[in-house]
């Protein structure tokens, strides 16, 4: 728990606010990978999309990869549109899966570097 301008905010919101300095990152959210429950968000949250839809998309990708015989667990996937990269990164956590979802401006983002940053953010977001 922390105090910011007299208002209590939870620790996750503080962690997400710190990610907004990454190049090209315009919005980020932490949500439950199964239920889509939104735990916290920062930046332009409207571009991220509803949590339940993102969790459903992650489940669809995981299930279809499993049906295709893919081994291992899902770590991340990227959906690229005309203007944006939508990055969904699994957060390593004991006892349940969380997703760190980010929207990046395609024109000002090096995707390889952004993916490396996202993996690092996911590792540290609950630390």
């Amino acid at each position: 728990m922390s105090e910011a301008e007299g208002k209590q905010v939870n620790a996750v919101e503080v962690a997400l606010a710190g990610m907004l300095g990454s190049p090209g990152l315009v919005g980020v959210a932490l949500l439950d990978g199964t239920t889509g429950l939104l735990h916290a968000s920062a930046g332009q949250t409207g571009a991220i999309g509803p949590g339940a839809d993102l969790a459903d998309l992650a489940a669809l990708v995981t299930d279809r990869l499993g049906t295709a015989g893919a081994e291992g667990e899902l770590e991340s996937f990227v959906v690229t549109t005309t203007h944006w990269h939508h990055v969904m990164q699994a957060v390593p956590q004991r006892g349940g899966g969380l997703l760190l979802c980010a929207v990046l401006d395609r024109a000002s983002t090096n995707l390889a570097l952004a993916l490396r940053d996202m993996a690092e953010h996911a590792r540290l977001v609950l630390a």
Binding site: V9, A11, V12, D32, E71, V125, A127
Partner: protein, 307 residues
């Protein structure tokens, strides 16, 4: 109503009550009666904890998911016995981070509210003097947002499986041949499949794995679509297995009338192996003589051999 309770604002259902309490900036607990019994704690109008037997608590989820061992948990409880809150003691022990605890508390509140919403409450009462929860969300969840999430969850499960209340009572049965040939089951589903035995309900599985009831139900609905579970709960097959002693069937039909009670009748004793005290020795000698003359004949049954 006791003096510990405050005057409940008029409300036609629990979400309306929570909204009214939120508008008042209420701090205290709301105890709910009925099949979906439980309690909600509010601080300054925000929900900080939901406790119900229908869903695992934060403590249960920490322990069952093995995020913290029982040994460490006992130490945390001992440390929190003084003036420190359980949350502060837990964070002080370094087993769980503040962010992880915030996520877990928020998840538990939404899951508890979902479990309580599966059945209609029979009544409620407020208590403004109830002590704060040992582990609670900071700053808390807005009741309006909580109601929206629970309503959306009930609607989604209804679309994917059917009535959620009936789903919550369903005993989950694994498919005889789970999955398509060559497919791999994600680890999250594997954990559930290992817990499914035809007797456990989604709530049982959630408690066993230390996960939320709604998350487990959602995964079960997805697993059913992947044909990892049986689509219908099977009917019981035949009567229960009899453990009564078996006897060969008799050809004669039982008598139609009342069966007389058995009577004890004197029986001829078998040939003794020794001579007990008081036995009729002359009769025994006569029997042994008959036995020794009959044995070489060949038509007789072979007698017992003695060593």
């Amino acid at each position: 109503m006791t003096d510990r309770q405050v005057a409940d604002p008029p409300a036609r259902n629990l979400p309306a009550l929570l909204q009214a309490l939120s508008a008042q900036g209420f701090t205290g607990s709301v105890r709910v009666h009925g099949p979906s019994a439980g309690s909600l704690h509010l601080r300054e109008g925000l929900v900080t904890e939901v406790r119900t037997p229908g869903a695992p608590s934060t403590e249960a989820r920490l322990l069952r998911s093995r995020r913290i061992s029982e040994e460490h948990w006992n130490r945390v409880c001992a440390a929190a016995h003084g003036e420190r809150s359980l949350s502060a003691a837990l964070l002080g022990a370094g087993q769980v981070s503040a962010a992880e605890l915030a996520v877990l508390c928020a998840d538990t509140i939404h899951d508890g509210a979902f479990a309580m919403a599966l059945t209609k409450p029979e009544g409620w009462e407020t208590d403004a003097t109830a002590p704060p929860p040992g582990i609670g969300a900071v700053p808390g969840i807005d009741p309006g947002s909580l109601t929206e999430v629970v309503t959306a969850r009930l609607a989604l499960l209804t679309r994917q499986w059917g009535p959620p209340a009936a789903f919550a009572r369903t005993r989950i049965v694994p498919a005889s041949r789970p999955g398509a040939p060559g497919s791999r089951v994600p680890p999250r589903y594997q954990d559930i499949l290992l817990s499914v035995d035809g007797r456990r309900t989604p709530r049982d599985i959630a408690f066993m794995l230390g996960r939320g009831v709604y998350a487990v139900m959602l995964d079960l609905a997805r697993m059913k679509a992947l044909q990892l579970l049986q689509s219908e709960t099977p009917e019981p097959v035949g009567p229960a297995v009899s453990v009564a002693p078996r006897s060969a069937p008799t050809a004669t039909a039982p008598p139609a009338g009342p069966v007389p009670l058995p009577r004890r009748t004197p029986a001829v004793a078998a040939a003794p192996t020794g001579t007990p005290p008081g036995a009729n020795t002359s009769l025994l000698r006569e029997l042994r003589g008959l036995w020794s003359t009959a044995a070489p004949g060949g038509d007789q049954e072979p007698g017992p051999t003695r060593t």
